[in-house]
């Protein structure tokens, strides 16, 4: 069975880019538009890895990660943060929210795939 990745990003372009890249790398991809949508999709799709943006409407990435970690059935799902922001305090916040890793946009398809494989259970 294909490994499943949930991507959470409010930008349609990013969602399509991620889908394109990850599908090419042989993953099944589920997309969500913001944190709240992400929580719903997480429950529906039971992904192996989650990739999330930080800056999103409705529920931002930090809150999303915190919420995911509150479900005990999901608190071990690796969550990679994919964002244009690279400020150390943001990273710190993502980490304390429960993120597994941090990738800075724009992403290189190869590196992204490698990063995903690295955390893939």
């Amino acid at each position: 069975m294909l490994k499943k990745i949930l991507t959470v990003d409010d930008s349609r372009t990013m969602r399509e880019m991620l889908r394109h890249t990850l599908a090419n790398a042989g993953f099944e991809v589920v997309t969500a538009e913001d944190g709240a949508d992400g929580i719903q999709k997480l429950r529906e799709s039971q992904p192996d890895v989650v990739i999330t943006d930080i800056n999103m409407p409705v529920m931002d990435g930090f809150e999303f990660i915190e919420n995911v970690r509150k479900f005990e059935e999901y608190n071990r799902v690796p969550i990679l943060v994919l964002t244009t922001e690279s400020a150390p305090e943001k990273k710190q916040r993502a980490q304390s929210a429960g993120a597994t890793g941090w990738i800075v946009k724009p992403f290189d398809p190869e590196k992204l795939t490698r990063a995903v494989n690295r955390v893939m259970p």
Binding site: D10, S11, R12, T13, M14, E16, M17, R19, H20, E33, D34, A36, D37, I39, Q40, D53, N55, M56, P57, V58, M59, E66, N67, R69, K70, F71, E72, N75, R76, V77, P78, I79, T83, T84, S86, K91, Q95, S96, A97, G98, A99, T100, G101, W102, I103, V104, K105, P106, F107, D108, K111, R114, A115, R118, V119, P121
Partner: protein, 743 residues
């Protein structure tokens, strides 16, 4: 989906983000900053930058980056907003939009570094772009180095001893010790020992506590930084020490990765309960797992039970376990459920598909009218089952129609927002100062109308600032605020949308307009024109006051082009001016270009259609109802006022004036700003929905006729332009009649 498709998506999204950005900044400018708006604005730029980076649009990325940083200053402290900064941000919107356009068309983007510099100065961004390891995967900046595997045979690097003791919280962040080892394995050779010393007896074991430690002897050509980078993301989640022990690994000369993994799996089996790791993770091969397990099969099952109960108990309340956020797991998930519900469901549909639906709907309306006609001819009464079924069909058609139209209806806001840029551009070109004020920007109208509106509106706004608003000194001298205001408003009125542009400028210079019009031969030298007629001369073809042509509103097109494009949409434009106080341009447009509810009337053998929305009431006249005013003007007293009687057939020039006004029917029609008119026709045939077919695109513009339609019997009928007829009923030809005679 190919990359090109994604690019298209990107630019479509850019357009959305730009309108979001512009709207937001505008709101901040008029209502002051609030966090939600600032966040939305920031996100818009952020998103554009993110997508641009993915496609390597470097010019766009670098400008968006500075823009974003500027917005970040405001995001961090709302009091940082001031007028000069807002101006700069709004100008940045224009530049950003230009850069996007350049990237889209593949042309060379104009140099935006000047404005970027201004932004940096104004927002104290410290100039230097923090090129902070943008490309890096921070938690694991490691390349898969095949040579490292080759080198396994003859390791020639340094040896480190790493001791790694995860806290329980590490497991709660999606980490798995195995992955760190795997990653190290990519960089060199390692031997891993699991330290089980802290592992308590099963009965004393707390399932979500961490008991295991590892010692890794790692031989690599990389340096300490690379190793630290592997553990970068678990900084604070574990006790880590890395110590260089030099030479060659102490034992197990270069064990390969598989051996290490196996070792880990074995240790993992024992450790399973301790580190909250799913049993499945280790039991990839359950048989081996149970065979290798130190205890018999039964205790394993018991262990699973223990874990489940313990975890369950833990989740249901006392999250006393070190990590934040676990305490209110229950409450949290409830809140999420609500949030999830709120997320609205939208889909994006190509407009072609909707257009096809609208066309089909038009055909359906015609078809239904034909069916109704046939059913009538066949002698079925309206109360017969067939008649009732027809009524039901009509109701359904109507509902489908309004449903389909609602799909295409859009608020005028995006178009209005664009105008703020137009104003800024004109202001900077002319040195004038003007502010755009919006009203009713949420008014909805069909997209085709909106699209057709952009050009005329742009031109009129330009015109309003360029010709209407005075320069700041003049304004102050006249006791007006230095900054002019252009108010753009939209509202619905009798089934149409009205868009008004109201400026507080100088108004129209009637003397000059009139002399120009006479000079150009647009009106006769001795023509008696009202102020209103003179104002509206600016829309006459061939009228453009040459000396006022500027870079801004010149561009070789006059206001007649504006009038034509509005008329092409089935609309009208009118100007009212108050000298010294300003001008009011108003346009009325149909809400849709597809169908209308028509009142079918007969006049002198012709079938005509009036929009039902314009008809206020119908009546038959008695002899005493008609009064004569002046020479030939007949009026009827209705609704406590005298309404001019308009003999439609005669006004349109296809029948003689009738002598007896009591033969025939009166329709009291609302003629927009021109007041009421009592249209006199032979008879009313009924009401039906008609599909609007433009005359203009196939024939030419005909005064007093809005469009044509096809009736149920296949006959073609003309749809009357009621406003035009009412405004020209006096017999004294207005400018438009003059034009049509001239052209």
């Amino acid at each position: 989906m190919s990359l090109d498709d994604i690019k298209e998506t990107f630019f479509a999204e850019c357009a959305d983000q730009m309108s979001e950005l512009e709207t937001g900044l505008h709101e901040i400018q008029s209502d002051g900053p609030d966090m939600d708006t600032v966040n939305a604005v920031f996100r818009a730029v952020h998103s554009i930058k993110g997508g641009a980076g993915a496609f390597g649009y470097n010019a766009l990325v670098s400008f968006a980056h500075v823009f974003e940083n500027a917005l970040d200053v405001i995001r961090n402290d709302l009091s940082q907003v001031n007028e000069a900064r807002m101006d700069l941000l709004l100008r940045s919107v224009d530049v950003l939009s230009d850069v996007i356009e350049a990237e889209r068309t593949g042309s060379e983007p104009e140099d935006s570094s000047g404005l970027a510099g201004e932004l940096e100065t104004a927002f104290g961004l410290g100039g230097a772009h923090e090129e902070e390891d943008e490309e890096e995967i921070n938690f694991a900046p490691v390349m898969i180095d095949l040579e490292a595997f080759d080198a396994v045979e003859a390791p020639s690097g340094r040896t480190f001893r790493i001791s790694f003791a995860p806290h329980a919280s590490l497991y709660l962040k999606g980490h798995d010790p195995l992955r760190f080892f795997r990653e190290l394995g990519d960089m060199g050779t390692l031997s891993v020992t699991c330290d089980l010393e802290a592992l308590p007896k099963l009965n004393d074991l707390t399932p979500d506590e961490s008991y295991l430690k590892w010692q890794i002897d790692f031989e690599t050509e990389r340096d300490r930084d690379d190793i630290e980078a592997v553990f970068d993301w678990v900084d604070g989640e574990c006790v880590l020490s890395i110590e260089e022990i030099g030479g060659s690994p102490p034992d197990g000369d270069g064990e390969n990765l598989d051996a290490f993994l196996q070792a880990l799996e074995e240790s993992g089996d024992d450790a399973a309960p301790a580190d909250l790791v799913d049993i499945d993770d280790f039991g990839q091969d359950p048989e081996t797992a149970s065979a290798d397990a130190p205890a018999p099969a039964n205790p394993v099952a018991e262990l699973v039970d223990t874990i489940e109960t313990a975890v369950g108990a833990n989740a249901s309340g006392n999250g006393d376990q070190g990590d934040d956020g676990n305490d209110n797991a229950g409450a949290g998930s409830k809140a999420e459920k609500k949030e999830v519900k709120k997320a609205s469901q939208t889909i994006r549909v190509e407009s072609e598909k909707v257009d096809r639906l609208i066309n089909l709907m038009g055909e359906l309306v015609i078809n239904q009218a034909m069916l109704a006609e046939r059913i009538g001819q066949a002698g079925f009464g309206s109360a017969s089952p067939t008649g009732l079924a027809l009524v039901e069909l009509q109701n359904l058609t109507r509902e489908i129609q309004s449903g389909v139209m609602a799909i295409r209806a859009q608020p005028v806001k995006p178009v209005f927002m664009r105008m703020s840029r137009v104003i800024r551009e004109v202001c900077s070109a002319t040195g004038k100062r003007a502010l755009l004020e919006l009203e009713g920007e949420h008014t909805e109208v069909d997209t085709t109308v909106i699209e057709g509106l952009i050009d005329p509106l742009t031109h009129m706004i330009r015109n309003a600032v360029d010709h209407g608003i005075e320069d700041p000194e003049t304004r102050q001298a006249r006791g007006k605020p230095a900054q002019g205001t252009v108010k753009l408003s939209a509202y619905h009125s009798s089934g149409r949308i009205v868009i008004e542009i109201n400026d507080d400028g100088a108004g129209i210079n009637r003397e000059r307009v009139l002399s120009k019009a006479i000079e150009k031969g647009i009106v006769a030298r001795d023509a008696k024109l009202s102020d209103d007629d003179i104002d509206n001369l600016i829309f006459a073809p061939g009228f453009s006051t040459a000396e006022t042509i500027t870079d801004v509103s010149g561009r070789g097109v006059g206001m007649d082009v504006v009038r034509q494009s509005i008329q092409a949409l089935g609309g009208r434009v009118h100007i009212a001016s108050r000298p010294g106080e300003g001008s009011l341009f108003s346009m009325t447009l149909p809400l849709t270009l597809a169908v209308l509810d028509g009142m079918i009337v007969k006049e002198a053998g012709q079938t005509l259609v009036l929009p039902v929305s314009a008809v206020l009431e119908t009546a038959t006249l008695k002899p005493g109802d008609v009064y004569t005013i002046g020479k030939n003007n007949r009026v009827v007293k209705m609704r406590n006022s005298l309404i001019p009687i308009i003999d439609v057939g005669r006004q349109l020039g296809f029948s003689e004036r009738r002598d007896d006004y009591t033969r025939g029917t009166i329709l009291v029609v609302e003629g927009g700003k021109n007041g009421l008119g009592a249209f006199l026709v032979d008879s009313i045939e009924g009401q039906q929905q008609v599909v609007i077919k433009s005359l203009e695109s196939n024939y030419q513009r005909v005064p007093s006729i809005a469009a044509a339609t096809i009736l149920g019997n296949g006959q073609i009928a003309l749809i009357l332009d009621c406003d035009h007829i009412v405004s020209h009923q006096s017999g004294e030809p207005g400018p438009e009649i003059i034009q049509s005679m001239a052209g």
